[in-house]
Amino acid sequence: MEPYSEKVIDHIRNPRNMGSIENPDGVGKVGNTACGDIMELYIKVKDGVIIDAKFKTFGCGAAIATSSMVTELIKNKSIEEALKISNRAVAEALDGLPPIKMHCSVLAEDALKAAIEDYQKKASKNG
């Protein structure tokens, strides 16, 4: 396998926004143990802006780093902006991922989409 970038290593070593949010506005849970990665993404939304984001991840280094990075990327972004964040953007923000690890960035994007969907569902219910 090609080596991880320094940025990936930094996010593995010091994951940002690790943990969960009590009473989150949206939660995305993706992955399964068969494929080896499970991610949970929690968001807190105020006036259409993601004011807090946290994650829990069972997975390899790339899974941790992409989870960590995606929470960083979406914080203080509007829901619309956050929806535009692709898996490539996550990987790029980490200065790239080894080819066989690109699926982890896909998982991070999926978790983000799932969390926003969950938020929108709840919002439309409450709205």
Binding site: M1, C35, K56
Partner: protein
């Protein structure tokens, strides 16, 4: 930072005495052993000395030793060498589900060439039942290949029993002994093996040189075609320094392996006990008794292997994992799956493999370091819910 190498099953450092033995054969005694002139004959003598050293180590004859480029080549050569030589006799090969990829991928290739392979299942400790081998034999079986010791979980197979079964049935028997060679005595006659693979870099010899033992009289089609080297069984200019290094490594193993095994067993047991005692929801993989002295393979619930490996590496500890994330297949280790582990536990495995230079201090350091890492990763894990426990 302290750096602790506990990945000797992947490769070992070359013993400095082995390197010293090799050095003259690069720039001073550099002839090609196939050359008739004195430069060639000096090199030839060195190769034959190494051959004798290795042959006597496993109670074989020198002419039964074929030098190769490593364990993978020996495995490929053994399987294909017998398959092509015995094709008219039959097309059925028996192996186990937990072989090294060098065996399993070769089997896959042979399947495409019209061979049929039976993959014997193992019990939860990773053991092959010799009776299962016996039952799998058909009229068209030409080869049985069962590894001596498993590279992931360290389980040691009943090779002698299986060999006896193959012998009685008149079928060639190969064993991949890469992991145990140089770490325990081997007698090819007592094991009833016709072919045996070994690789120098697993016993403090150099990388890139291996051996295939081929019992006298065994029908064998060369894998690497070309020159007359190795009595026509393997072409290519001899890797003289590498071969000399393999011989030197075997000499050191002869002297030291029994004591080393004792020392490693006690350190290894301390490591296993320490981990199982101090970290909940951990388990030992592989047979607790019939295992390599060097091997401690542990599954840690709720956390994934590669992340543990990376965190340990940050603390200077080198080990390996059977997690899918280290392979391009995205499948967790076929060995851990074969012994019945859930996907989660297969992903969450760590293999510590000790070496002859491993010290008790190093084991203590691992035992001090690992619990904190597991705790951190469990906090991060969605599978680990402190509150619900």
């Amino acid at each position: 930072m302290k750096r602790i190498y506990l990945d000797h099953a992947a490769t070992t450092p070359t013993d400095p005495r082995v390197v010293q033995a090799m050095i003259p054969y690069f720039s001073d005694i550099y002839g090609n052993p196939s050359s008739l002139h004195s430069f060639g004959q000096e090199a030839r003598t060195a190769v034959e000395t190494a051959r004798n050293q290795i042959a006597s180590f496993i109670m074989a004859r020198p002419e039964e030793i074929v030098f190769t480029s490593g364990g993978a080549e020996s495995d490929n050569a053994a399987l294909k060498g017998i398959a092509y030589a015995r094709r008219e006799k039959g097309n059925h090969i028996i192996t186990s589900a937990i072989e090294h990829h060098a065996i399993l991928e070769t089997c896959k290739f042979l399947e495409k060439q019209g061979f049929q392979i039976t993959y014997i299942k193992v019990d939860p400790n990773g053991l092959v039942d010799p009776y299962d081998v016996k039952k799998a034999i058909t009229e068209r079986t030409i080869l049985v290949s069962i590894m001596h010791a498993n590279n992931e979980i360290g389980t040691i197979q009943p090779i002698s029993e299986i060999g006896k079964i193959a012998k009685e049935a008149g079928i060639y028997f190969h064993t991949d002994a890469v992991q145990i060679f140089g770490h325990a005595p081997i007698n090819v006659d007592e094991l009833h093996v016709d072919l045996l693979s070994a690789s120098a870099h697993k016993l403090y010899g150099p990388k890139g040189v291996g051996v295939l033992y081929i019992r006298k009289g065994t029908k064998f089609t060369p894998f690497l075609h070309g020159g007359d080297q190795e009595r026509g069984r393997r072409a290519s200019t001899h890797n003289v320094p590498g071969i000399v290094g393999f011989g030197a490594a075997v000499e050191l193993a002869k002297e030291g392996m029994v004591q080393e095994a004792e020392k490693m067993t006690s350190l290894r047991n301390k490591l296993i006990k320490g981990i199982l005692d101090s970290i909940e929801d951990t388990r030992l993989n592989g047979d607790p008794i019939k295992r390599l002295p060097s091997n401690a393979n542990i599954s840690v619930a709720y956390v994934e292997g590669e992340s543990m490996l990376l965190y340990l590496d940050m603390e200077g500890i080198a080990c390996s994992t059977g997690s899918a994330c280290t392979s391009s297949s995205l499948e967790p280790s076929h060995v851990l799956t074969a012994i019945g582990l859930s996907h989660e536990l297969a992903h969450g495995s760590l293999r510590f493999s000790l070496g002859k230079f491993t010290s008790e201090d190093e084991i203590d350091y691992v035992l001090d370091t690992l619990p904190g890492i597991i705790e951190k990763l469990r906090t991060m894990s969605p599978l680990y819910r402190k509150e619900t426990r």
